[in-house]
């Protein structure tokens, strides 16, 4: 079957890049069934654009984790500003609401 492969832009697709794309999340979660995993890996071995897409997809996840500290507490960058204070009017409104609430 490999003889029939043309390169991307030209290579033979058992599944198109579009369909392969839908496998990426399951692939990263280790949830692709064996048959689909084989098809996925075969496609990846022949399609540099899909390899690059998977790489940037993974980077996207990593970047969002790195750039949004979970608790917004310590910004990872030491000289970055802390979150701005709660506006005074809001502090007063919350304290007043607490007195009213049962």
């Amino acid at each position: 079957m490999s003889d029939e492969h043309l390169s991307c832009g030209e290579h033979r697709h058992d599944l198109s890049c579009r369909e392969i794309c839908d496998f990426m999340m399951a692939y990263l979660d280790g949830e692709l069934p064996a048959g689909e995993l084989a098809v996925f890996q075969e496609h990846m071995s022949l399609c540099p654009p899909c390899v690059q897409y998977l790489d940037t997809y993974k980077k996207t996840i990593a970047l969002s984790k790195q750039c949004l500290d979970k608790e917004a507490a310590a910004d990872p960058c030491s000289n970055a500003p802390k979150p701005p204070p709660v506006p005074d009017a809001l502090v007063k409104a919350i304290l007043a609401a607490r007195k009213k609430s049962p």
């Binding site: 890049c17 839908d22 960058c77 204070p85």
Partner: protein, 215 residues
């Protein structure tokens, strides 16, 4: 009840240790509540704003979050840190607010999904993705780009991405919280990541080489 006499002298609220603050909170001390808002409110508000970019929504959610803190503080066991407990309450209040407020029209996500040619071929990414995620710690511009891109996601996708990829909640938990099927959570997370990837592809392209953003 703790009265002022039980402390050798009453410290300014800002100097209280976390344990002393907690003791005063449990005793219903007014100043301690104000100190809690000033000390932990900024982080809570920053987290809420990720889910509710509109300021009035975010402020309402913070108020709801803190009112539930005031009611539940006696039950706070201290098995997680106070900050972690408050963080969870803030996220829950943001989700509650998203559920109860009037739905706003949402940008369609389709524009942000990858484009394929008619025969299903991929089109190449534009940007220079040589940036390493670890660079984020040193690179404020990169962090700004990523945060802005997340804010630009359509709301229902952003919420799922925040819960799964930032909060690291399980698919099952997110499905419960948002009353969606597991399959729906997975599909939406995948689309959200693809859309964020596309937004970053555009932004990183505009900024030139991300490596040069480092100063």
């Amino acid at each position: 009840m703790i009265d002022d006499g039980s402390l050798t002298e009453r410290k300014p609220a800002a100097d209280l240790s976390e344990a002393d603050l907690l003791a005063l909170l449990r005793a219903g001390d007014d100043e301690a509540f104000e100190e809690l808002i000033r000390r932990h409110g900024p982080q809570m508000l920053a987290v809420i704003r990720r889910y509710l970019p509109e300021e009035s929504d975010a402020q309402d959610a913070l108020q709801e979050a803190l009112l539930s803190v005031f009611k539940a503080i006696e039950r706070f066991q201290g098995d997680s840190s106070l900050a972690t407990w408050l963080h969870r309450i803030a996220v829950n209040a943001a989700l509650m607010r998203l559920r109860t407020r009037r739905r706003r029209p949402e940008k369609p996500i389709e524009d942000l999904l990858p484009h394929f040619s008619d025969d299903g071929h991929r089109t190449e990414p534009r940007a220079d993705w040589s940036v390493r995620p670890d660079d984020a710690a040193q690179n404020a511009e990169l962090r700004g780009i990523v945060r802005t891109a997340i804010d630009e996601l359509p709301e229902s996708y952003r919420t799922i991405l925040l819960l799964r990829d930032i909060e690291e909640r399980s698919t099952e938990e997110v499905a419960d919280l948002l009353e969606l099927s597991l399959a729906n959570v997975k599909t939406r997370l995948h689309r959200a990541r693809q859309a964020l990837r596309e937004l970053l592809d555009r932004r990183l392209g505009e900024s030139g080489r991300p490596g040069e953003m480092m100063r």
